[in-house]
Chain length 235, copies 2
């Protein structure tokens, strides 16, 4: 199908998917570029493709693509994609994010989580939206390669403790290494304020990355990645 | 001194420091907020302070502060700061960045470099400007706590090899651990294209972070941080 008008209804509807509200209503989101679309196709999540030729489900003008793109430089192709289904929490290593706000940090953490064989990534309800374009872009398509669930942490933490996970809080005053627990979930807190007090209280142990005293803390994406590296990459 | 006009010459001059050209010409840059200003004061780099009361060298209106700020939410105080002097390359662990373009990545790497006791950070001439406001902000003030130099890598690498450093290239096909070399410098390449061919040829060894095959690479700031953690944090 060929569309040439910027005010076409399909174009308007697609463009709305840039807003969380419409993504939540429809269960759909937008992705841009060859690499991401390939990853989504592998998972059978693509609803329709949009590009400059008749090879796509919708052939559109470069002005329409520019309008739909979230990047300054625009893009050559866009796909409308179904949100990824949340599965059960699995894996010996789980990461919990309590209020991560920066989309780049979340994307980076997703990318590292795949690299270091994390079974499940649990997002608190106040984390940035998973389907934010910057999250997807900085995940480099890895968003399609890991189980990510959004949960009420006060409910899910006691639940996974019962199923055998030891819960570590990443703080500034913990031990320098993980113990030899069979199943481990660690929590990374918000960029500014850290882990919420009521969540900290649910944790079994603290874990800290050893660092020079001139540096108070690391970037949240880096902290999470180093701890995942310790857990999933090394052990 | 009190300034109330947005078109005051001082205000205009300060505002120009948002551009690299003027930072290079004057050797000055702008920083915002209590935390950064404290770090700059510790190093005696502050030329003048600008804020809303007579406690500052320049008392200005909130409109002026808003104009000078690089942040959407504005700031309460700004300082004009001297660029940090480049010192000789020191330390047993050195990190070399070949063409890092993302200011957030550079800031993150600086922060991690302080955390993991890196002696010197060497930037190639095509790295993003160190005094870009996003670099400074994401370094969380750590820019004042480490020796950072900008060099022609083709000249400096042979030079530091002569002074005893073993040069590792962070690539996808190297060894998984650093050898027991006394002095180590590792190179992280550009976010998209990696390390330049002519720079790779100058390296002694390759180093790779072991990861799941579904993930092609890590974020550059994360890769650098994990290797620094291995070098400066662990050994």
């Amino acid at each position: 199908m060929k569309i040439e008008s910027l005010t076409n209804n399909k174009v308007k509807t697609w463009n709305k998917l840039k807003e969380k509200k419409y993504r939540d209503e429809t269960g759909l989101f937008l992705i841009e570029g060859d690499h991401l679309i390939k990853e989504a196709l592998k998972r059978n999540l693509v609803v329709s493709t949009i590009g400059l030729t008749s090879d796509y489900d919708y052939e559109v003008t470069s002005e329409i693509l520019k309008k739909l793109s979230c990047q300054k430089s625009g893009t050559n192709e866009i796909a409308i994609v179904k949100k990824i289904e949340e599965k059960e929490i699995t894996g010996d290593n789980v990461v919990i994010l309590d209020g991560i706000q920066d989309p780049g940090n979340l994307g980076t953490i997703i990318r590292s989580a795949v690299a270091f064989n994390i079974g499940t990534l649990i997002l608190s309800q106040d984390c940035v939206d998973l389907y934010n374009d910057k999250v997807i872009r900085s995940s480099e398509g890895m968003i399609f390669n890991i189980n990510i669930v959004r949960k009420n942490l006060k409910e899910i933490i006691p639940e996974i403790k019962l199923s055998g996970y030891t819960i570590y809080a990443a703080t500034v005053d913990g031990d320098k290494t993980f113990d030899d627990d069979k199943k481990i979930a660690f929590i990374i807190g918000n960029e500014g304020s850290g882990i919420k007090k009521e969540i900290l209280e649910l944790c079994d142990k603290n874990i800290t990355i050893k660092m020079n005293e001139n540096c108070e803390s690391l970037n949240a994406g880096v902290s999470a990645s180093i701890l995942m590296y310790e857990l999933g990459g090394r052990r």
